[in-house]
């Protein structure tokens, strides 16, 4: 019997090098990671449903803090401001970033490499530096800080994200599609709208959602470039925290999380629907 039986038994106990989930310690490490990453967020959300006014003592479920946050006029206003800023800056930066990404994909010009490096600067430089740079620029030029300056700043720092996404998308583009379009009698403009643009859409959606979420979340740059009394949602939450830590802040933050998550979800669904490309 037995050689075969023995080796079969041994094989059952053996864990393949890539079967990580069959190792108990791996589960522990995984659990540790999840706790570290998500415990704070889960508690934040959980305590937004607390009925007690101290943030960290659970007394029972209620929606009272959501109601309070809803009726908080200045929080409401901050939310509208945030949406306004995010919407306008997303539209502008998606358009400009897409053009930039397309230009970088398509054309060669002197110093292109250097220019490409510089474009990534807003992504890599510390946000605080970007904020200071923007605010000193506005002072130097003599523009009063307002929501408009916030929008301009948000456009400036979200453009590169869009450009990078579009550029990556275009790397997989078959240029002969454009040539085929021209060959079939289409003008350059028709070719762009009928052939190139549809191909860019998943990248545009991804880039737009990215810049929307970045703008909605942004604290540092907004804090510096906003005029007096022009609060956005994150800035307002911060100022609420300084006065009192009530679950109202939790409720407001939870709303922000839900918005961000659902936008990301929409982006992912759209992505997967569009990229169901040719299965070769």
């Amino acid at each position: 019997m037995t050689d075969a039986a023995v080796s079969r038994r041994r094989r059952r106990r053996e864990v393949n090098p890539l079967e990580y989930l069959k190792r108990p310690w791996m589960w522990l490490a995984l659990l540790g990671c999840f706790v570290f990453l998500y415990f704070p967020i889960v508690t934040l959300v959980a305590f937004s449903f607390n009925s007690y006014k101290r943030a960290f003592v659970w007394k029972g479920f209620s929606l009272i803090w959501y109601e309070k946050a809803m009726n908080n006029a200045s929080l409401h206003e901050a939310f509208i401001n945030s949406m306004h800023v995010a919407a306008v800056s997303t539209v502008v930066s998606t358009a400009l970033g897409a053009m930039l990404g397309l230009a970088l994909y398509r054309y060669w010009f002197p110093w292109k490499g250097t220019y490409e490096g510089i474009i990534h600067l807003p992504i890599v430089i510390p946000e605080i530096c970007m904020a200071v740079a923007m605010v000193t620029f506005f002072w130097a030029v003599g523009i009063d800080l307002s929501l408009t300056t916030v929008i301009v700043s948000h456009i400036a720092f979200t453009i590169p994200f869009v450009a990078v996404v579009i550029r990556a998308r275009m790397a997989g583009f078959d240029v002969s599609l454009e040539e085929a379009s021209r060959d079939l009698g289409a003008s350059e403009w028709q070719t762009f709208w009928h052939v190139t643009f549809p191909y860019m859409i998943p990248g545009l959606v991804a880039g737009a959602l990215m810049s929307f979420v970045l703008s909605l979340d942004d604290f540092v740059i907004t804090f510096f470039t906003a005029g007096v009394g022009d609060n956005t949602f994150p800035v307002k939450i911060y100022s609420m925290l300084r006065f009192s830590v009530t679950p109202e802040v939790n409720a407001a933050s939870t709303v922000l999380i839900v918005i961000t998550l659902s936008l990301t979800l929409v982006a992912m669904i759209m992505q997967s629907r569009w990229t169901k490309g040719p299965k070769e």
Binding site: D174, S176, L177, E179, A180, S181, R182, D183, L184, G185, A186, S187, Q190, H194, V195, P198, Y199, K276, G277, P278, K279
Partner: protein
């Protein structure tokens, strides 16, 4: 053919990419209704030439006329030609129907005419029932048919095909060759095909231009390219040859006297004029192997069999000859037990009729 005007006239066209000359002073006339092949190894400039016809590249020098119109400065969308791309370039986000309709829509053909024309074009390539499919639901061969229909629906004066069969598997390729020839006969459009595959060019084209490093070496019908190549390059690119170095020793009524290295003076029928060092060659299948010395009149060499390669329908027998040159002879295995059984090490005679000798003057 002489009185007809060429549909494509390429006059002394040169194309430089920086310091690289991709196409070097090429002149070709293609006649209406012809199936013309641009044949050559990769990098010989055949695709560049095709792209100049389509308008994607501009000639550095020379002129291109299509249907009597000079093409200088005419953009691709204004040319009476359409192209089938090597990658097919079928628009992935459109259905098969929309792909074929695209060229009509963008040029403002009325909607009620489009449907009929598209259906006609799809029927031509046997894709009648595929109109609503997306390209990712099609096989490679079907996608190519879409590309063909999309180009043909425009009723071009010339259809350009860039390596159309290279992405298909061997069996499908064979079938598509016949299909393309059938298609060309039924639509009566001039086809210009680019290929690196000599079999493809020989089996489909009415005439082919053999290109080498940007230069056209020979333009001729397939049988002439094979039976009367003008240069070693053409002879070698299209089929196999046994090469011999030779010197022209004189001329006598229709024959060329050549002094072949190690074989002495031989008279070869040759119409043209040649002097100095030339190449002389013979196709492997035009040689005969025998144990006994062949009769007078044939060109004969003695050799020892060094290798036998069996291909089923035929065998290639390699012979080390007394002149030091290796010869290949192709033997048809047309009977189950052929008369001559060859083993490595056998001493055999290889011979051929003088008329089968190729004189390669260039």
């Amino acid at each position: 053919m002489t009185d007809a005007k060429p549909i494509i006239s390429i006059r002394n066209v040169t194309k430089n990419f920086g310091r690289v000359t991709a196409v070097d002073n090429v002149s070709i006339d293609v006649m209406p209704g012809e199936f013309f092949a641009l044949l050559g190894p990769s990098g010989c400039g055949k695709t560049t030439l095709l792209r100049m016809l389509a308008g994607f590249e501009t000639a550095s020098e020379g002129e291109i006329e299509i249907d009597g119109q000079p093409m200088l400065g005419v953009s691709p969308n204004k040319r009476p030609v359409n192209m089938v791309f090597q990658s097919y370039a079928v628009f992935p986000h459109m259905t098969v129907f929309d792909n074929v309709a695209y060229g009509l829509k963008v040029t403002g053909v009325p909607k009620n005419e489009i449907t009929g024309q598209v259906e006609e074009a799809l029927a031509l390539v046997h894709l009648e029932d595929y109109g609503r499919r997306k390209p990712d639901q099609l096989s490679g061969g079907q996608r190519q048919r879409v590309a063909l229909a999309r180009a043909l629906v425009k009723k071009p004066k010339v259809l350009l095909l860039d390596e159309p069969l290279s992405a298909l598997d061997a069996k499908l390729r064979e079938a598509m060759r016949l299909e393309l020839v059938r298609l060309q006969h039924s639509v009566g459009i001039t086809f210009v095909i680019v290929t690196h595959d000599q079999d493809e060019a020989l089996s489909m084209a009415d005439r082919a231009a053999v290109m080498d490093r940007g230069v056209v070496r020979q333009i001729a019908p397939p049988d002439e390219l094979y039976e009367h190549p003008n240069s070693l390059f053409v002879a070698d690119f299209i089929g196999k040859v046994n090469m011999m170095e030779a010197k022209v020793a004189g001329q006598s009524d229709g024959d060329l006297l050549v002094e072949i290295k190690g074989m002495g003076r031989i008279a070869v029928p040759y119409a043209g004029a040649a002097t100095g060092d030339i190449g002389v060659a013979v196709r492997p299948e035009k040689t005969v192997l025998s144990v006994e010395k062949p009769a007078e009149g044939a060109i004969a060499l003695k050799g020892k069999v060094s290798d036998v390669a069996y291909y089923g329908s035929e065998s290639n027998i390699m012979l080390d000859t007394e002149t030091g040159v290796q010869f290949i002879s192709t033997v048809q295995n047309d009977a189950r037990h052929s008369g001559l059984s060859v083993a490595i090490g056998d001493d055999l005679w290889i011979s051929w009729a003088p008329g089968n000798t190729l004189v390669l003057a260039e």
